[in-house]
Symmetry: C2
Subunit: 396 residues, 2 copies
């Protein structure tokens, strides 16, 4: 039995209207000039505009940096640091999905750390230490998926090569997290489904990951319970609103389902400090090679990946079935994943989203090199990855 280490994150405020705490939270930290870092697409939406108004009403002088789009690249971070300096900002509010929160973290890092962003790459032999001051920063997620709001790493790609670099330090953790279901009420059904499957995959893979971490195990099972109850409801509401039923927008059951998904996604982000698994290595390859949305990729491949894990961890898959409230133990859990996927509109096969057999060689190369499958409960060989990609492509 080895010596294990457990760490847990930060102060989190959850509930409808939690984003209204922003002025108080910043004032308590003696901050008056926040830089709001957000997605290009989000900047013109009510969430971002009302956030800026809230800050102004709280007597704060906020500037907005809305230069985040697509998969984050280094030039976005550099532009954000420039915006921070121009505004003479003293704090950062990350408002958005995983990309905006990752860029916010990287800006926070680079404000007081000299040199190039990638000098701080995690695991690089001559990496500079992340040991200087990080400006006070608050994360405000607007999707229920990545769990990035409670994460201690950020993934930023090189502009030219598109190679992703991981920057990691407990110091990158947001000092406060505001989780507000009202910010996710307008997410369209396909985004709700894909980000929800990302949260689900974090919870499932964290629970199955090899390390001993019962705190994360308990959080993962409870988070899965919440996903099982709330993801179908959240998608159903999103579909009705997408179809024009605006009257149900603020329905308390809609707010509850969105809130539960946000909390479950946050719990996924907490739980996966334990580790992830083969599903994520498959999904990372699909994003890199075929530019597939990460949550969508997870959602398509997770039943194939769990069938691969079935004989290795039948008891643990059975506990996941129990948490999801479905009968039939481990096989029942996989059947449930398939029916959930169908119910919320995630395709059954990779072929349906344009992945082709001639992609498989490149996919396997990236998946094998990916770090996530190291903690998968069953070893994954190159041949296993090939078989998994072919299975997930679907019948020819």
């Amino acid at each position: 039995m080895a010596i294990h280490q457990f760490s847990f994150p930060t102060r989190i405020h959850f509930g409808p209207g939690a984003v209204g705490l922003l002025p108080t939270v910043l004032a308590e930290a003696s901050c008056s000039r926040p830089l709001v870092v957000t997605d290009r697409g989000l900047a013109s939406r009510p969430e971002a505009i009302s956030t800026k108004e809230r800050l102004a009403a709280g007597g704060l002088d906020a500037a907005v940096f809305a230069g985040v789009f697509g998969n984050p690249v280094k030039s976005q971070v550099i532009a954000g640091v420039e915006a921070f300096r121009q505004h003479r900002a003293d704090s950062i509010v990350g408002l958005g999905g995983g990309a905006a929160l990752d860029v916010a973290k990287a800006i926070a890092l680079l404000v007081h750390h000299p040199g190039d962003l990638f000098d701080y790459e995690d695991g690089k032999p001559d990496a500079r230490p992340i040991d200087r001051e990080i400006p006070f920063w608050v994360s405000v997620p607007t999707t229920a998926g990545t769990g990035s709001e409670v994460g201690r790493s950020t993934v930023i790609a090189d502009d030219a090569t598109h190679v992703k670099k991981i920057l990691f330090s407990p110091r990158l953790l947001a000092q406060r997290v505001l989780i507000d279901p009202e910010l996710t009420l307008s997410l369209p059904a396909p985004v709700t489904a894909a980000t929800g499957m990302d949260a689900l995959t974090h919870l499932v893979e964290a629970y199955l990951a090899r390390d001993f971490h019962p705190l994360c195990d308990g959080i993962a099972l409870e988070g899965l319970r919440m996903v099982a109850r709330s993801l179908p409801a959240a998608v159903a509401y999103a579909r009705r609103i997408d179809a024009g039923e605006r009257a149900i927008f603020d329905d308390p059951d809609h707010v509850d389902a969105r809130g539960a998904m946000l909390v479950a996604a946050m719990m996924g982000g907490v739980a996966f400090q334990k580790g992830l698994g083969v599903t994520h290595s498959l999904a990372h390859a699909l994003s890199t090679v075929c530019d597939l949305h990460h949550g969508l990729a997870n959602g398509i491949v997770i039943p194939y990946a769990m069938r691969f894990n079935l004989d290795a961890v039948p008891e643990r898959l059975g506990a996941l079935a129990a948490a999801a409230g479905v009968p039939g133990g481990a096989p029942g859990f996989i059947t449930w994943l398939e029916s959930l996927r169908a119910e919320i509109g995630i395709p059954n096969t990779l072929a349906e989203v344009g992945v082709r057999p001639d992609h498989v060689d490149a996919l396997v190369r990236v998946a094998v090199a990916d770090g996530c499958h190291a903690s998968n409960p069953r070893n994954v060989t190159e041949a296993d990855f090939r078989a998994l990609f072919h299975a997930a492509l679907g019948a020819p």
Copy 2:
């Protein structure tokens, strides 16, 4: 739906030999002169002696303050602060059960905070703020019960009046926690059983407490799973060792059971930041009025308390049954508590430990005034407390 707040503690190292990390942990924090705060009874035992030797071997100049005994009182804290100053200490190692860890926390508080310890009492209208430096301190539990090693409060009594005062601040949390099952291998069976029931009660009451806190809920259920698997085994090993079977001392299954109980107790300490319930109010009264051991009191009364809660939260009690791996839903959970209590040698009634009907008036007064039942899932009136104490006394 209100706005909820979640916070989580600190870095924890767990495993056999984890206490061996002490020199490294202190050196990493640039500390070289720790004060080891421990129980009077523990100071002469191998755990404490080897800890001091370990620190010396690591090049650290450690002093030992072994002035903790019984329920901690303020004069112990003042003597500990004096020991800290005399040694010119730069850090604290709390080594022991809940009492030693609570005194260690209070010493850490008083080293840089002026005035009287009780000036900082939680909730006192004119309380001084806990806002100054706290010396680096490491907690090392030697029982699997209170969860004090991950707690942010300390309970210290007035020497004269024996009135207990609570001091609370997130700043009181140990910077590091070393959880080492080797330190609990020699705990006698009755202590193993009583402290184990304390851990179990934290987990159960935290899960049932009224607040919305799914992180704590998940941790509580997973911790209960570990208690259900490991407490009977830990007590069975302790009995055989108490009876002279020294050969099984280091048996890997013994170490595993002790480790699981320590982790479950820590998880109880994390989970009960959510709240506790009626069992704890009964137990606090029994400690104050009849000087009963806190874990023993919890262990005796918890089935009566859960029967009281049965109609209020049948689903939640059913989830606890499922986590404990027992059939029969909520009633099955209460039956399991009764059989567990019998199996590990906890009495069925308060009469068996010397509580008398003429204690009840005083018991009810203290229980009603206790804060824990505020978060119980069913309101508890004075008449309810009276009925509960009479039921737990047993047939006349």
